[in-house]
């Protein structure tokens, strides 16, 4: 190969990478947060999600408890809308996941949808309209999934007649919004730009209705909300993450994540501890340790997940055992090929196995070829 050809290639590669970099916005310090505007979509970033998890109880029968997850994802396809004379032309997909774990029956219910963002199928609202994101319900169900801003927090609803699931929940904050990292930046690896903008409402009082298997219940409980947007969430050598969102009985909340290396070990870890008053303290990797104490093999995918952990945060005098409330809380997507992950309610136990709180754990990238495409 001649030098000029090499030069030309290098030049082209440079132009391409420059174009790409220009195309999707990278996560960098100095972002000017503006709420409530930032609760809405950020289409200049490639990926975005609104994540709600929580534990609800039947108002009429408080013994009857459920874990739930409701998530809407914005999956960026192209930085700009393609110049096509068609209403099917789009730059985003909208993916929705909803799960309910019935602690009484031990059954885990999951529904998902995937639509391109076009006016007849799904969309993302713009501030100040109330709707943040919406989509048609999964095929076979009339209606829609929606996430709305209610003035102080979020209302959302979903429905899947085939799965016999429906939920209509309204939240209001018990604690203020917290950033999950300095300036709202949550780093995911050694590379600077592998990071997301990330904030949470760790305690949202939740009220509404939940329908499961033909029975509709009034429910109440507490939810955790994450809103995260980024262009690059995983380094090339990372395969997935373990994420923990825990509400302690003493009023503190703890968020931890471990990005896993393709070799199997932890690659990058961070955490945030939120005091009972709502003040956040960011935890470095050296301040906490977590190890898996057990595993569970999915009968659906054959995938082996960790299932039970021992956590220590010595500076906070925290030693917790984390146990899944149900073993099988695996979400196997029907509408996105090869996508499955474990997302479930956990109980927290302190020394002597006394209850210390509850929370949600998410385990992604387990099994073969299951690295999230981020």
């Amino acid at each position: 190969m001649t030098i000029s050809r090499k030069l030309l290639r290098a030049l082209l590669a440079g132009i391409v990478s420059l174009l790409c970099a220009v195309a999707w916005r990278a996560v960098k310090p100095g972002y000017a947060w503006a709420f409530p505007r930032d609760h809405w979509a950020h289409p200049e970033f490639r990926t975005e999600w609104w994540y709600f998890t929580g534990i609800l109880q039947d108002v009429a029968n408080p013994e009857q408890r459920f874990g739930y997850q409701f998530t809407l994802f914005r999956v960026g396809l192209l930085p700009e809308k393609p110049n096509l004379n068609s209403r099917w032309a789009t730059r985003h997909l909208l993916m929705g996941h909803a799960a309910v774990g019935d602690f009484g029956t031990g059954r885990h219910h999951f529904s998902d949808l995937l639509y391109r963002e076009i006016p007849m199928l799904s969309g993302f609202g713009t501030y100040p309209e109330a709707r943040i994101a919406w989509s048609l319900a999964p095929a076979g169900t009339v209606g829609s999934w929606e996430l709305m801003w209610n003035g102080e927090a979020f209302d959302f609803r979903m429905r899947d007649d085939e799965r016999g699931m429906a939920g209509d929940l309204s939240t209001h904050p018990q604690k203020p919004l917290v950033f999950q990292g300095p300036g709202g930046i949550s780093r995911k690896g050694a590379e600077d730009e592998v990071a997301s903008f990330y904030y949470s409402f760790t305690r949202l009082a939740t009220l509404g209705t939940l329908a499961l298997g033909g029975r509709t219940m009034s429910v109440r409980g507490v939810s955790w909300m994450d809103h995260e947007f980024s262009t690059s969430q995983l380094q090339k050598d990372q395969v997935g993450w373990d994420w923990f969102a825990m509400r302690l009985i003493d009023g503190r909340d703890l968020m931890l994540y471990v990005l896993r290396h393709s070799s199997g070990g932890a690659d990058f870890r961070r955490g945030t501890l939120v005091s009972a008053a709502g003040e956040a303290r960011f935890l470095t990797a050296g301040e906490w340790s977590i190890r898996s104490t057990s595993t569970w093999e999915s009968p659906h995918t054959g995938c082996r997940y960790p299932s039970g952990w021992a956590l220590e945060v010595p500076a906070e005098d925290l030693e917790l055992e984390i146990e899944p409330i149900l073993q099988d809380q695996e979400n196997v997507c029907r509408r996105s090929a090869n996508l499955h992950y474990w997302e479930g309610a956990v109980r927290l136990l302190s020394k002597g196995r006394t209850p210390a709180g509850e929370g949600y754990v998410e385990l992604t990238g387990y099994g073969k070829n299951n690295r999230p495409p981020l």
Binding site: A89, T90, L114, A139, G140, G143, D161
Partner: protein
């Protein structure tokens, strides 16, 4: 067993000609049925394969009743209870430039919707399907054929528009459905709508149901949700529709192939008889040595089974080869006449092979059963004394004749009454004619040859002697008569059709130059001519006027047919429509002034529409009923068509591109020169520019292509019939061996015996051809006036292609003579020493 096999081999050696002829007869019979079955199934398979490849394993399909489905109906379909998933589809055929244009079927899908696509080489980034202009996924077969690799660009045309596409990925649809077309080209629906210039339109929605969902109830809910816009069908209903659409075509071929087998069975019958006659003494000996009747019967049946098996083994590759050779013409017929998928590969299912085996072996057995029973029943003395075998036909000729007359008379009466109203009634009558021929053959042959005056030991003596062995000779005459009947019937029908078409072309194809696009033959309304091309055409000095045509497909009176819009006010334009009902000037004036329509004959016949009726036509905006002011002869499609004024068309279907134009030139201008000049002036636009003569030739070549398979079957039947004559004469030579020896002993010369046998052959040919021709004329009437109208809806003017018929008669007679030569030579060589004591 050893005896059986040893005996069989010895017999084959001693009578090779007989064996080869018999085998050929069974093999040809099997081959003709098999080839047609393979083509029939492959034609349907190609349709279903592509449906399956695009629709996945869809349980329901929503298709438009108008020209297209508005995409807004998609979310309404998606939400209906019972639906597990749904995919919108938009499709069109485009022409890939080359010596012979290859048509690619562009299929626009929502590539981001959850569905299984059999990627062979998946896209590196799915988003490229949206961002790379013209991104498409092609099948590995097409990529290999064209030498394409991922990333390579190529150009296609749709109408006069040139589209630039790029191979983005490979998708192996044949993995999902082996008979799926390799020419399927997949792209994202957004790219497809843009490239095809059809924003907002989709062609169908494929639906997968939830496990356990009730298809009929879900279909009802979807119907209620989308209203009158669409129809909802199961794959079975779609297949049935394709089957119905192809029904006439398939039935035609199947009937012809069964006739071949019918003739083949005669051949097997003759040959078995021949074999038995030869071995009369042998059976007598076996019986006198203690062989039981059952044993003799089993030996005969065993031999026939083996013969049938060998015939089937030979017939299967022969049938496949025949199907392969005709795939192109069948494929062309399907795409030209029915606008369906082309057939790219043949489907040979075990069921088809089993049917071929059953027909071959079963036919042989059936043919041999009666003589086998008779032979096994005769006592050994009769067999040994050499009295001639006289099968039932000799004594029961009259009752059989009566049965034939009654059958034909009865069916004819029935057809004249209620039968002609039943669609397959014509076929029943046709079959009755073919069945009656063999039934009346013994009496006709017997009384015909029996009355001959014999003045010398020559031709006439030979002919007259036929009446003495009617059991054998009438079978040969019947086989020939059936083959000739079919040949004459079909020749007259094709001749009438061609003549009618020529007259029709003569009066409707009047313009000097016709301009359409390569993709128009497949994409019709979607293949438009751009304004610049139209401007270039219209402003040529040589051009006096330009006739523009737009076309679409929509539901008219419950049937999906072609609707065309033309300038009804064009001076001299009345000639474009040859009316069978209505007055031309008046009909066109009403079409121009009050929005009336003209309806093509097939649609009028199938829907029972008459002048003055109001035909409901579905448009993208609803349904409108228009008055029919005329019904025109229309040989362009099987489904039928509707013609209206172009202005009315645009009002009903909205603005759109002109699809084809016809140019009328100023006096003295040279149309061939204009064609050459236009082709140079308008390059790379995929245009088809043809002079009047070239277009006429093209239409007639499509016509010939359509009937290519029919002609093949005719040829096969003829070969079978010729085999039959040879075989019969060989049998006669064998049966009459002692008689011939006696003649020789009494002083008959070899040439005399040769002439006697040639006389027999001539008489067989004359009677076979005569009876066949008479039957053929009746069959032609049934085909032209009954079957064609019922199935195709076409009126054909009866025309006797005299030259073709005379040629065929001569050919047949020559074939019969040739077929008689070998037996005649063999007979003439019979030495007087063959005379045994018993014969005296």
């Amino acid at each position: 067993m050893q005896f059986f096999l040893g005996g069989l081999i010895a017999r084959i050696r001693s009578s090779r000609a007989l064996f080869v002829l018999t085998l050929l007869g069974v093999a040809l019979g099997v081959a003709s049925v098999l080839s047609i079955q393979i083509l029939n199934r492959s034609a349907l398979g190609a349709f279903q394969g592509s449906v399956r490849a695009v629709g996945g394993e869809a349980d329901l399909t929503v298709s438009p009743r108008g020209p297209f489905l508005p995409e807004e109906c998609f979310p309404r379909i998606l939400g209906q209870s019972g639906v597990a998933s749904a995919w919108p589809v938009i499709r069109s055929q485009v022409a890939l430039q080359g010596k012979e244009p290859i048509f690619l079927e562009l299929v626009g899908l929502d590539l981001f919707a959850p569905r299984r696509i059999p990627w062979k080489s998946p896209p590196r980034e799915f988003s490229q399907a949206l961002s790379v202009p013209g991104w498409v996924a092609v099948t590995p077969t097409l990529a290999e054929r064209m030498g394409w690799t991922v990333g390579q660009g190529f150009a296609v045309t749709l109408g006069s528009r040139r589209l630039r596409l790029q191979v983005g990925a490979l998708v192996d649809f044949q993995k999902l459905a082996p008979l799926a077309s390799s020419r399927l080209v997949v792209l994202d629906i957004a790219q497809a709508q843009t490239l095809l210039a059809r924003p907002g339109e989709i062609d169908q929605v494929e639906i997968r149901l939830k496990p356990g969902a009730n298809a009929a109830k879900t279909a009802d809910r979807i119907r209620a949700a989308v209203g009158e816009l669409a129809k909802v069908e199961t794959p079975e209903e779609r297949r049935d529709q394709a089957q119905e659409l192809l029904g006439a075509f398939r039935l035609n071929l199947t009937a012809l192939s069964l006739i071949s087998l019918f003739v083949g069975a005669f051949l097997v019958y003759s040959s078995t008889l021949a074999s038995l006659v030869r071995r009369r003494a042998e059976f007598g000996l076996m019986r006198s040595l203690g062989a039981m009747r059952g044993q003799v019967f089993r030996i005969i049946v065993g031999e026939v089974l083996l013969l049938g098996g060998l015939g089937v083994a030979l017939g299967i590759p022969l049938g496949y080869a025949a199907a392969r050779a005709n795939m192109g013409s069948v494929s062309a017929t399907l795409s030209n006449l029915y606008l369906l998928e082309e057939v790219e590969s043949l489907k040979v299912s075990p069921a088809t092979l089993a049917l071929a085996a059953l027909l071959g072996i079963g036919g042989a057995l059936l043919g041999a059963l009666a003589p086998a029973i008779e032979m096994s029943r005769k006592d050994h003395r009769t067999l040994l004394t050499g009295s001639t075998l006289r099968p039932v036909a000799g004594t029961t000729a009259r009752p059989i004749f009566l049965a034939g007359v009654l059958l034909l008379g009865g069916v004819a009466l029935w057809y004249a009454g209620p039968g002609h109203r039943w669609k397959p009634g014509g076929f029943i009558l046709g079959i009755a004619v073919l069945l009656a021929l063999p039934l009346i053959a013994p009496v006709v042959l017997g009384s015909g040859t029996g009355r001959l005056r014999v003045q010398s030991f020559s031709f006439a003596y030979g002919a007259r002697s036929l009446s003495r062995s009617l059991g054998i000779t009438s079978v040969a005459v019947a086989a020939l008569a059936v083959a000739v009947c079919m040949l004459v019937g079909i020749t007259v029908m094709i001749g009438s059709f061609r003549r009618t078409l020529e007259l029709w072309i003569g009066s409707t194809i009047r313009a000097d130059v016709y301009v359409s696009s390569e993709s128009w033959s497949r994409s019709r309304g979607q293949a438009g001519l751009d304004p610049q091309t139209l401007e270039t055409l219209a402003t040529r000095d040589e051009v006096r006027s330009m006739d523009r045509l737009r076309q679409t497909f929509t539901e008219c009176g419950g049937r999906r047919v072609s609707v065309i819009g033309v300038d009804m006010g064009l001076s001299g334009g009345e000639s474009r429509f040859v009316l069978m009902e209505g007055r031309p000037r008046e009909a066109l004036r009403r079409a121009r002034e009050s929005g009336a329509i003209l309806v093509g004959e097939p649609l009028a016949r199938k829907g029972g529409w008459k002048v003055g009726d109001r035909l409901p036509i579905r448009t993208p905006f609803g349904e409108e009923s228009l008055t029919i002011s005329g019904i025109y002869f229309d040989y362009g499609s099987v489904q039928g068509s509707v013609a209206m004024d172009l202005a009315k068309f645009e009002k009903m279907f909205g603005q759109g591109p002109i699809n084809t134009v016809a140019l009328y030139m100023k006096p003295g201008a040279d149309s061939e020169r204009l064609v050459d000049q236009l082709l140079t002036a308008l390059p790379d636009r995929g245009l088809q520019i043809r002079s009047n003569r070239a277009l006429r030739d093209r239409i007639l070549s499509i016509f010939e292509e359509t009937f290519a398979v029919t002609r093949l079957l005719q040829a096969m039947s003829l070969i079978i019939a010729a085999c039959g004559i040879t075989l019969t004469l060989l049998v006669l030579a064998q049966e009459r061996i002692s008689e011939l020896a006696l003649y020789r002993a009494l002083g008959a010369s070899r040439p005399q015996i040769f002439r006697v046998f040639l006389g027999k052959g001539m008489a067989l040919a004359v009677f076979g051809i005569g009876m066949g021709s008479a039957g053929g004329l009746v069959l032609a009437l049934i085909l032209v006036y009954g079957i064609n109208r019922a199935y195709f809806g076409w009126t054909l003017a009866l025309h006797f292609p005299t030259l073709a018929l005379a040629g065929e008669a001569l050919l047949l007679f020559s074939a019969a003579m040739l077929a008689s030569l070998y037996p005649a030579v063999r007979a003439s060589r019979t030495p007087a020493t063959e005379l045994s004591r018993d014969d005296l």
